[in-house]
């Protein structure tokens, strides 16, 4: 029993220590806004984490939109309300699926890559040598990557939503023959830019911060061994996925909860 308690205590202690290190990393890296001369570093990272994630985001968005439309259509058709597919699709995507799925995809595609990249830089002493050259790696390596994530994820989310709705259009209107007028006008009537669009984008901003923070911290804090790197990349995906889902619930509760 004592041993068990001690183990829990050690775990908690380790967790708090890691949280402290992660906060210190965030503070040291994000204290300054990127300078104009560092713009090229930022653009390169936006290319790496954002642009290169486009393929997976677009593919997933299209198929998720298509599947959703198919499900909605078959259920709604029983009541003769096929046009409501548009509304349902837009609300589900803008409020929940868009931000959440994009962030999950981003964690798998870009988050793990960030961790591996920074971890390997640490293992091969590149970060250390940068420090010895009088260049702060937190500023040069970590900060542009965090900013790139914060900028990219909301844009990717917007793209995800657009493509997913297009996927729904292809299935519901072009294939199954729902009424295009009803589809679009229903969507226009019901979707509110603040309630649905803005709050959804706010979610994606929160997810962006969480995922990139976890990813760069895991890389920076990784054990400089093959095993340590494998653990860190796995941890990045697991921790950020859990954080995305948990914070999504909290955010939904706070933003849409009505009690």
């Amino acid at each position: 029993m004592v041993l068990f308690l001690r183990r829990i205590g050690m775990r908690a202690f380790k967790f708090l220590a890691a949280l402290g290190r992660a906060s210190a990393l965030w503070w040291s890296a994000m204290r300054w806004l990127p300078r104009l001369s560092e713009l090229n570093l930022l653009i390169r990272q936006i290319y790496n984490v954002g642009y290169l994630s486009l393929v997976i985001v677009v593919l997933s968005a299209f198929s998720i939109g298509a599947v959703l439309a198919l499900q909605f259509y078959t259920q709604l058709a029983r009541f003769g309300a096929q046009e409501a597919v548009g509304v349902g699709l837009a609300l589900v995507l803008l409020r929940e699926l868009g931000p959440v799925v994009t962030a999950l995809l981003f964690a798998g595609r870009a988050g793990s890559a960030l961790t591996a990249e920074i971890g390997l830089m640490k293992t091969t002493e590149q970060l250390s040598s940068m420090e010895m050259m009088g260049v702060d790696p937190l500023r040069r390596i970590v900060a542009p990557r965090i900013w790139a994530g914060i900028i990219s994820v909301p844009i990717l989310t917007a793209i995800f939503n657009t493509v997913a709705i297009y996927g729904g259009v292809v299935v519901a209107i072009d294939w199954l023959g729902a009424d295009a007028g009803g589809f679009w006008s229903g969507m226009q009537d019901v979707v509110d830019w603040w309630e649905d669009l803005a709050k959804g984008m706010f979610k994606s901003l929160v997810f962006a911060i969480l995922v990139t923070w976890v990813a760069v911290f895991q890389g920076y804090d990784s054990e400089p061994t093959a095993e340590g790197m494998a653990m860190s990349t796995t941890r990045t995906v697991v921790i950020s996925s859990v954080l995305i889902l948990a914070s999504d619930f909290l955010l939904t509760l706070v933003m849409y909860g009505d009690f």
Binding site: T124, E125, Q126, S129, E131, M132, D136
Partner: protein, 289 residues
């Protein structure tokens, strides 16, 4: 008021210290350094000085903290107690910003070369120049080619680090370390894993650079033959202390058993061949319990 006096006192003290170290001709003065990693005591009240313009070698068996010493001098690790004065300034008490500024004057060659793998050879050498100076592109090009020429790799400027052999990447890293003409160059095990030709090249490079740039070189190594050939003075570390110091010739003739074991590469002596263990016979007879 009181604060001002103390501050004045401190600046004065620093100035005196600076003068002292210039007078004594030492670039680095390490005093009473104690460093612990976890429970293990790495340095125990270590003191040593490195004269300006010399090639000084720190030698000793693996695991005596030679690399750690370089990290302490560069301010990447903090000691438990003691002072590390570079040009009279105490590295231990410097802030992060002060350290980053100090390091512009220090070149370090890492054991793993540590080239930036996403940049070409040219860009690797240009990196410190681009970050720390506002020189024109033309001037940077000239400087980079000069540095690369000094290590014989001007022709390899467009290659990526992954395309280089171990010896070549170490030479590129050396060119990068001297890009800003530092006052101090630290070499972490420069000879490890090099073939005989690359080794010879590195030995003469270190010697020539020290003369041509008029810098101070600090070399950490356990390759006796190469180190003895170029070092002006050698410190041998073991168990967190300096167990021998002097010119290569002095150390070779040293009476100390430990120094002699190290300098002549004897497998057994004060540093035992066996890791501490139970009695051999007992161990074998006891079998698996």
């Amino acid at each position: 008021m009181g604060g001002a006096i103390i501050r004045l006192h401190l600046t004065e003290r620093r100035q005196v210290l600076t003068k002292l170290s210039i007078m004594s001709g030492n670039l680095i003065d390490i005093q009473n350094l104690t460093f612990r990693r976890g429970e293990r005591l790495i340095f125990d009240d270590l003191s040593l000085s490195i004269p300006r313009g010399s090639i000084t070698a720190i030698m000793g068996p693996s695991g005596t903290g030679k690399t750690t010493l370089l990290k302490l001098i560069g301010g990447q690790e903090k000691p438990e107690a003691g002072q590390i004065l570079i040009d009279g300034q105490d590295v231990v008490r410097m802030s992060r910003t002060e350290l980053l500024a100090l390091r512009k004057d220090i070149g370090m060659l890492f054991q793993a070369s540590a080239l930036f793998t996403d940049l070409s050879v040219f860009e690797n050498v240009a990196f410190p120049l681009r970050v720390h100076t506002s020189l024109s592109e033309e001037l940077i090009r000239d400087l980079v080619l000069m540095k690369l020429n000094a290590v014989g790799l001007r022709g390899a400027r467009d290659l990526m680090p992954a395309e280089l052999s171990g010896g070549m990447s170490r030479r590129v890293a050396l060119a990068r370390a001297i890009a800003l003409d530092p006052n101090l160059i630290m070499y972490d095990e420069p000879f490890t894993g090099q073939d005989p030709i690359a080794m010879g090249v590195l030995v003469s490079l270190i010697k020539n650079l020290n003369q041509a740039l008029a810098t101070t070189s600090l070399l950490v190594s356990h390759d006796i033959h190469e180190t003895v050939g170029i070092a002006d003075q050698i410190f041998i570390l073991a168990d967190g202390r300096v167990i021998g110091s002097g010119t290569p010739a002095e150390l070779r003739d040293s009476d100390s058993e430990m120094v002699s074991q190290f300098m002549h590469g004897k497998p057994d002596g004060p540093v035992p061949f066996h890791y501490p263990a139970d009695d051999y016979q007992y161990d074998v007879v006891a079998g698996i319990d």
